[in-house]
């Protein structure tokens, strides 16, 4: 098994999931609580990666961060080298690609929070930010954990976007799924099978954990609120 690829994949997935918590929570908060009419525009943009072929998404990201785009030039002037085919470029693409897997569970959990509770907090003099951390996050914890783990698991298995934006550079951008593809191309089915099984077991274990945690949280709530 290619442990370098496995290590790289886990590093990528962990960073992606962590950054998505930081980036996704404010987006989800806005989506859930904003009264704006054009909210659906943002909602559908966030959901795009769910339906777009990864190659299409990857292509646009590649163009957007490439040396000919303003964003790409800005990054190059800042760091000294272009973003595509680096780990950072891959991370950026992963974040966009897994955005709905984090934002949608977050927003769904926020939608479930009784607005009266939030108003009650405000009338008690607690500002919006503190209300978010003291009340909304604890009440949405199951959704936050789900979003974190789903975006982690989703990043573990990404292929098309990685290939487009990251390429296939050993130790930099070669992830597990690319490694499996390479093994199959080289007719090394035994190697591919081992890695594939490893990814399957890990993904299943991760999902098992999520559902177990979610169940326990819900049961706990049910126990507390008999209504």
């Amino acid at each position: 098994m290619n442990w370098t690829a496995i290590g790289l994949t886990f590093k990528l997935a962990t960073l992606t999931a962590l950054i998505l918590v930081v980036v996704g929570l404010p987006i989800a908060y806005w989506l859930s609580f904003s009264q704006r009419r054009w909210k659906f525009l943002v909602e559908s943009v966030v959901a795009l990666p769910l339906v777009l072929p990864p190659t299409v998404l990857g292509f646009y990201i590649l163009v957007a961060i490439g040396p000919h785009s303003p964003l790409g030039r800005f990054y190059t002037s800042l760091v000294g080298h272009p973003l595509p085919f680096t780990f950072e470029g891959l991370l950026f693409a992963s974040i966009l690609y897994s955005l709905p897997f984090a934002v949608q569970p977050f927003a769904a959990a926020f939608d479930q929070v009784d607005r009266r509770l939030i108003e009650a907090s405000w009338t008690l003099g607690v500002c919006r930010v503190k209300t978010f951390f003291k009340l909304i996050i604890p009440l949405s914890l199951a959704g936050v954990v789900t979003g974190f783990v789903l975006s982690f698991a989703h990043t573990l298995g990404e292929f098309g976007v990685v290939l487009m934006v990251g390429g296939n550079i050993e130790g930099v951008t070669r992830t597990v799924s690319i490694d499996i593809y390479d093994e199959v191309q080289a007719l090394n089915y035994a190697g591919a099978a081992k890695t594939a099984l490893f990814l399957l077991v890990i993904s299943y274990a991760v999902l098992l954990t999520v559902y177990a945690i979610n169940r326990r949280v819900w049961e706990g709530r049910r126990g507390l609120l008999p209504l």
Binding site: R116, W122, G125
Partner: protein, 371 residues
Amino acid sequence: MGSELIVDITKSFPGQLTIDVVFKMALEPPSVLILFGPSGSGKTTILRSVAGLEWPERGVIRYGAETWLDSARGTRLPPQRRCLGYMFQDYALFPNYSVAGNVAFGMEARTGDERHQRVREVLGMLQLEGFQDQKPGQLSGGQQQRVALARAIARRPRLLLLDEPLSALDVPTRTQLRGELRNLLRQLAVPSIVVTHDWEEALALGDTMVVIHDGRVLQSGAPQEVFNHPRDAEVAKIVGIETVMPGRIMDSSEGLVTVEVAGTKLQALAGEESGPDVFVCIRAEDVVLEPVGMRATSARNKLNGLVRDIISMGALVRVEIDCGFLLAAVVTRSALEDLHLAAGSPVMAVVKAGAVHLIPRRDGAHHTKRP
């Protein structure tokens, strides 16, 4: 300029009712204002606007010298900075916090010791000692109501807003907690606005009362005044009680209470009276009119009087009888003709003891504080 709360707001809901109200309340000495009206009349929206949870498109809300809302100048003070206590109809207790956690929720500015002490003090005030570690879901409705109240008063708000504080409770609990709430409001001495559609609550808790219907103020004044002298048939229909008189309990035995109203003795069923001073309330539809000198009836109260006034209300007629105090009765037009009643004619008003409602009166002689 006197210290008062001024509310003058307009808020419309497209396709639904438009709220357009003006009312004032004195802040010094602190009093209790009742927003009274049927459900859907807009009273909760008015209360939410005062709290800053709802933004009227036009209007002014002033608390003393402070401006909370002034649409013309674009002033909008967020709820956090109004320093008020708001109690939601369904309590809105935080399910993930204990009773103590709920009560302490907004008190971060204080030191740990101060906070701890205040939480204990407030829980004691509301007889919630021993419940501090329970979660709201483990409490009964009455206990949840107390926790919600404790949380609303814990920060010593300058204004207390209670939205239908007792409506989610069953009747026996409601009667009991109404008495407790009355004593608590008096003890706290915080200006309060209470939203209710229950005339007993209005009478028991309120110093002044504003009758709201379809988003407008129909009448305001002392509750007793409004009940006895509704401005028009619309108000009369909404308030639901026609005769309200101060009375004093003279005697009580075998579940029956003798109460004196303006020199006349009435019998009523014993209820939740906490002192001798009560309001005696009689619905006009519970008063039966008979010719003077009729046979014995099972009803305990037979009052001889003179017809003072006859007011037409469509198919029904409201007859006001002077029997030491002014008693209102509602009868059909044909009954009026059968009895040959006109202004000045003698009549006997018959009222069952069970139809005489007694509500504890707050402006009576020195009230004994409950322990």
